[in-house]
């Protein structure tokens, strides 16, 4: 088996009496296309928060390659190549799209603490921003402030910022959440065309998307991994079917 790029061992997380992560042993392969599915409240976002260092686990550890990063702060993990997007837009609302990207690019290139030269004179930052904006077809909105953008395009900026970090691992938390279905293909196309060398973990509710995109699927229920396998295995899994049928029967 290939060495995983990101891995958890025996990960637990409690919020008081609530166990949102229970003994999670999860591995993401380099260049993977991996999906996590599971009902609302299953602990999917919490898992991303544990992987990125937003939350500290109650027990267990997180590995990046062979390095134990359990105690590493969120911002340091980013510098080691872990980027994420948020289920609910977490953007610089009052700034333009290109300013949003430049913050991430400056930080990655290590010039975010420069105090002498004007930000506009860093041509390498501008070029990189231009490249990402063109790739995601956001170039016409470069100077538009985020709050003026339709929600769908804001979701695209979420991905753009993460890409600006030049990640090895990209964690996408429901990238198309809240986007009208007529527009969601724009987001999903962007997800489909992500560089192949990035390991992508996606949380997604749309099963069509999951089964088209993912080479591997993990099913999370009440904080624990219920099943994991390739799409065919998951589709055939009786327990998974029970959970999903049970879920839809309640809705």
């Amino acid at each position: 088996m290939i060495e995983p790029i990101l891995e958890t061992r025996g990960l637990d997380k409690n919020f008081g009496a609530l166990n949102v992560a229970r003994n999670i042993n999860f591995a993401l392969a380099p260049g993977a296309r991996h999906a996590i599915i599971g009902p609302n409240g299953a602990g999917k976002t919490t898992l991303i928060n544990l992987l990125t260092g937003v939350l500290k686990p109650s027990a267990g550890s997180v590995y990046l390659g062979t390095n134990d990063i359990t105690k590493m702060a969120e911002h340091q993990r980013v510098k080691h190549g872990i980027a994420r997007t948020f289920q609910i837009n977490t953007l610089f609302m009052g700034l333009s799209v290109i300013d949003n990207l430049n913050l991430a690019i400056s930080e990655r290139m290590g010039n975010a603490t420069g105090i002498l030269r004007p930000a506009g004179n860093y041509s390498e930052v501008m070029e990189e921003a231009g490249r990402i904006l063109s790739t995601l077809k956001l170039d016409n909105d470069a100077l538009t402030e985020i709050h003026e953008l339709p929600y769908g395009r804001q979701r695209l900026v979420e991905i753009a910022i993460a890409l600006a970090l030049d990640p090895k691992v990209l964690l996408l938390d429901e990238p198309a959440a809240g986007v009208p279905s007529a527009e969601s293909h724009i987001i999903l196309d962007a997800v489909d065309s992500l560089p192949k060398d990035i390991a992508v973990l996606i949380i997604e509710h749309d099963m069509d998307v999951v089964f088209r995109f993912a080479e591997r699927i993990t099913v999370l229920v009440r904080g624990a991994i219920l099943a994991e396998g390739d799409p065919d295995e998951i589709a055939a899994d009786k327990e998974v079917q029970a959970v999903y049928l049970g879920e839809s029967a309640h809705v």
């Binding site: 969120e74 948020f86 930000a119 016409n140 909105d141 538009t144 003026e148 953008l149």
Partner: protein, 343 residues
């Protein structure tokens, strides 16, 4: 199918060009300096007031760095102002009367206090942070009162400065050299702050203000960066405090009052936060309002407090971007939709 409002659509190159030019000086930025020089010649009788306004502008600018840019709200900025003031006064009264040395020591001392207090305080946010910044100031004021054999207590310390660079004497009669001295220091202080806010560091501060959570997610060590800007801001506030007492040749525990912390915050909000020139406008309007209400209605505090209260309520309700925001809107109306606002 783009939603760009008021921007030239279609061209990435033009957007990049806008960013490449954003930091350039606009011709109108010379206006405050021309006004400052005009006041010197045309209104010699108001030079003390005008000098105080210049100092308050520098103080408000230092506060703008943390409040307006980094989004760190503080009701304790006089901690640094007062520390700078006392360091300068104590040096001058202990045989180190050189004003420039006084400024440097004030900046250094305030910066150290900024580092120590910022490191602890900036672990908190919101109301907790507000109360803690306040508490530090109140504690320092209490210390200054208790150690009155050093600080001179309520009566304060009188001192004389030596000549600036061994050449120019700070006169306390006509305030002519004092005014120019303060104006020059303000000018360099302003240039420093302006350079910082247009550099990546300043953009990064705006990012922290706009979304701290996202800043961590793009790899920013937020606390460390907040402490760095707190130190810079403290140093400049310390210089403002030093200027304040150098001009008067006297320091009292008033430089540590919590009220002054509130006043400078009001000046900044009144003028507009996060836009540099808000500090100029806010400090000027505030100080002029203060002195005219005192002249017209007498020095009874309540009238003045009442007037400023009303102005502040109007600002917060109807002009969230302050007086300078209103000014920007007017300019925009005249020029049609243009995005070149100073930020």
């Amino acid at each position: 199918m783009t939603s760009s409002t008021g921007t030239p659509t279609g061209s990435l190159a033009r957007s990049v060009q806008f960013l490449q030019r954003r930091h350039r000086f606009h011709w109108a930025e010379i206006i405050p300096w021309i006004l400052a020089i005009a006041v010197f010649y045309l209104l010699p009788g108001y030079r003390l007031l005008a000098t105080q306004i210049l100092v308050m502008i520098l103080f408000a600018l230092s506060l703008d760095l943390i409040v307006g840019y980094a989004g760190i709200i503080s009701l304790g900025h006089t901690a640094f102002f007062g520390t700078g003031a006392y360091i300068t006064a104590l040096m001058a009264s202990n045989d180190i009367p050189d004003p420039i040395l006084g400024l440097i020591a004030a900046a250094a001392g305030a910066a150290v206090l900024g580092l120590v207090s910022g490191w602890v305080l900036l672990r908190t946010t919101g109301l907790t942070l507000l109360v803690l910044t306040m508490a530090v100031t109140i504690m320092l004021q209490e210390l200054a009162n208790d150690f009155d054999e050093i600080t001179g207590g309520f009566d304060g310390i009188n001192f004389t400065n030596s000549e600036i660079l061994g050449l120019i004497e700070l006169d306390q009669l006509w305030y002519s050299s004092s005014y120019i001295y303060v104006l020059v220091v303000l000018f360099f202080g302003f240039l420093t702050i302006r350079t910082i806010v247009y550099a990546p560091f300043g953009r990064m501060l705006i990012g922290i203000r706009e979304n701290t959570q996202r800043m961590s997610a793009i790899g920013t060590p937020v606390h460390q960066r907040q402490v760095s800007v707190y130190i810079i801001s403290a140093a400049i506030a310390g210089i403002a405090g030093a200027l304040w007492v150098q001009v008067q040749g006297n320091v009292t525990t008033e430089v540590y009052t919590f009220e002054l912390s509130g006043e400078v915050l009001i000046m900044l909000i009144l003028g507009g936060t996060g836009r540099l020139y808000g500090a100029f406008l806010g400090a000027t309007v505030y100080k002029i309002l203060e002195s005219t209400t005192e002249q017209v209605l007498g020095t009874d505090e309540p009238y003045w407090q009442f007037a400023i209260g009303i102005v502040l309520i109007l600002t917060v309700l109807f002009a969230r971007r302050g007086l300078f925001g209103i000014f920007e809107d007017i300019v925009k109306k005249f020029k049609g939709a243009s995005k070149g606002e100073v930020q």
